[in-house]
Amino acid sequence: MNHLTAEFPAPLIEVRHVVKAFGEVVVLDDVSFAVRPSEVTCIIGPSGSGKSTLLRSLAFLEDYGGGEILIEGELLGYTDRRGKRERASEADINRVRRHVGMVFQQFNLWPHMTAVQNVAEALLRVRRLPAAVARARALAMLDRVGLAAWADRHPARLSGGQQQRVAIARALAMEPHIMLFDEPTSALDPERVGEVLQVMKSLASDGMTMVIVTHEMGFAAQVADTVIFLDHGKIAAQGAPEVLFHDETQPRLRQFLQNYFDRNAFWARRDA
């Protein structure tokens, strides 16, 4: 293995044989993959395929029954106590995921705080930065997502796209090494999708390591290094988008992708 590790940098995320079940229903079935620094991985698949559960597991918002998730080489969520697996303490979990940022479908901003307060909160309470420093950094983050002018607005007075950009700024403020996105544009008006994808593209080109659950196939095709197709909790196909999106050998993947091709057929015809 040594010749391999010399050639590739160590993965930031390693998922090894992860299994999760809700009662009888198996949600994740022996899932394994790795994400290396600056890689963008998109997870696609039909609803109920377990893609959100998988992503949430990477921030330990979901526990997992078997297997291992390593974040920068450290086991996430569990400790090994005399050969027995035990749930790690809150402090331990927070330590392992301190460099993981998460962006949610529903933005999950705190409505009683302004945009800049949302971004500064963790800098104040977790990093314990002085108020002025935290605010300055929060403003810089809002500027990065194009919202410096909206810093003192409450979420209720921002559009969905703006709220999601604040949520991205909030995660970025903590200087994550990895950003997780759980269907970040699915709750947005179609007109607002572009501004969020634009921010994500610029993150990708800055070298941010990202794992993205998405239905935006065009975005995945442009930005992803690896696309993972999840079906019934299993990785059914995995590869570079230019290969995977034209893979004719997998009927389930073809069928899934066909829906998107059909929806976009209008444009394809005009282009032809």
């Binding site: 949610f104 705190w110 409505p111 009683h112 977790v126 209720a156 903590m174």
Partner: protein, 225 residues
Amino acid sequence: MSIPFDVAILTDALPAIARGLAITIGVWITGAVSGLGLGLVVAGAQMLTGRWVRLGLRAYIEVFRGTPFLVQLFILYYGGPSVGLKLPPLAAGILALGLYGGAYFSEAFRSGFESIPPGQLEAAQCLGLSRLQIIVRIQFPQMLVIVLPALTNLIIVLCKETAVLSVVTVPELTFVLTGIGTEKFAFVETLLTLCVCYWLLVELASRLGLMVEHRVSRFLELSGS
């Protein structure tokens, strides 16, 4: 036909009535404040502690919501001395009000805490905020706005429950006025005055509650999203 209404009975006893009113307001406020404090602690503790403490807290809530306030007061005041808890009427009254109110307040707070969307808490968790920080910084301020109408209601109920303290000789408004009523055989004057006084207090509290509600909900801009 006319109901005899002798104003002199009231004006003659005005200082005593005023003292009674002052005591009513005093026990009401101290009782409500201690009830609010207790309720908040109980609601918070239910989120932070383990199963056994939680079970104890649930038992407290069930007992104090499930039995009449009058009976609780009797047990505390007359039963207390047998376990070494000998309280003067006023202290017993305030303590009983606080315990009774605390059970209701804690339930209001708990439902308020639970109504915060879990996604907001997950976001906070991912950013590394501790459980306590999430409660204090994220849940608490939003919870307060949500439960404000319920709190106003409960505070109004407590106002009227202070009348019960008269049975353990707390010299509050009901005690004073019913005393005058029996002594002078002037029930119409005294009971009517009593009603008007409580009604005024309740009206004042509900107006105040509405004012606070308007202020904070405008400040927090929670409506719509």
